[in-house]
Symmetry: C2
Subunit: 198 residues, 2 copies
DNA sequence: CAGACAAACATACGCTGCGTATGTTAGTTG
DNA sequence: CAACTAACATACGCAGCGTATGTTTGTCTG
């Protein structure tokens, strides 16, 4: 094993802290997660935490950024393999809803994130999911598939709808059934963006 | 002044606590609001709080219920004076977006509420706003104006879209301008529920 | 290559704040 | 009017965050 450089050690420490925080925040929620327990689980102390991330919020920010980027990557991968750009948008929305079913996403990104860090669109990660949706909508407008609406406004509402659907599904007794209802309603609403039909 | 009955005193105490909590939660957020300061402002101590509401969460629940009911009443009043049921739904949505601009609603009901109390639809207040929207949608379906979609699913997504729009607006530099963009996009999405157009 | 310097943590401390256990007062009932 | 209880206030313990202060280990320079 080659001797570890300083930078590598730091990166490893940060990664360990973020990994532990991800699990703790998802399981207990931000407020109930103890920084002492968190750091001890990976053989560190709070000293490492406050050195690397400033404070508890800083750690949450790092966790949120990581998850958010993973979500955007997954959503984009799913959306890009659809037959048409329009179907891509719908698939992207459905994927977003499904991802939000994971406790990590739900608890950390959708519930505690906004409450502790404020409006998601102001986050450093710039809410990757939102940006991806905006680009897709803009492309659809350019293709003449979607009406020349405000792409950002439409994307934000679409994402908001998907987000709320996810909360609904997660709290339900029969997630699979509710998921189907939510996706159907999502497709229906999104159709409002299309140019005249029939 | 007639001698105050015991029940009246209790009701007055509860009202004072809820009023103080509303202000404190809206201004500082749930986590940063101190129960000591809160109660002292209305000449009480934490003893009164834990006796009447059980714990800090209980107080938040009471505050949320109160605001939620006020919102539903306002939205219903606005929606019911529209020319048609369809315009009523749109007006209701717009009203919901506008109400969410108030710090009280935004901070307490939309951010801290879900994070601390969990999914809003599981709240004792049953999320009055959602119920109102569902009823409106069901009526529109019965009238043949809206496609026979899942009323609950559609209502939840509509509300979610409005909610997200509100967060966006509140964080923007030019709320009035963004409000207009959001309402326009909302009308556009909602149109997806209509039966065939043109 | 030795000494200085700073980064990367660990340790120790204080303070805030929640919840609870225990008092105290005032109203209600038999 | 005496016993009882609801409605608070007071007092205490404890967890947890942030910070101030050590300590070690790498890195850089003359």
């Amino acid at each position: 094993m080659p001797p570890k450089r300083r930078a590598e050690m730091v990166e490893e420490t940060r990664a360990k802290l973020v990994r532990a925080a991800r699990a703790a925040f998802a399981e207990k929620g931000y407020a109930a997660a103890s920084m002492d327990d968190l750091t001890a689980e990976v053989g560190l102390t709070r000293g490492a935490l406050y050195h690397n991330f400033g404070d508890k919020r800083g750690l949450l920010q790092a966790v949120v950024n990581q998850i958010d980027e993973e979500m955007a990557a997954r959503a984009h991968a799913i959306g890009s393999q659809a037959d048409s750009a329009w179907e891509g948008l719908l698939a992207e929305g459905a994927a977003y809803i499904e991802m939000a079913l994971e406790p990590e996403v739900q608890r950390v990104v959708l519930l505690d994130g906004p409450a502790v860090l404020g409006d998601p669109s102001q986050w450093p990660s710039q809410n990757s999911c939102l940006r991806a949706t905006i680009e897709t909508v803009e492309a659809l407008i350019a293709q003449g598939v979607v009406k020349p609406v405000d792409a950002e406004a439409a994307s934000r509402l679409l994402n908001g709808a998907a987000l709320n659907a996810a909360l609904w599904i997660a709290a339900s007794n029969d997630p699979r059934a509710v998921l189907a209802r939510a996706v159907e309603a999502f497709r229906c609403l999104a159709a409002g963006l299309l140019v005249a039909r029939d």
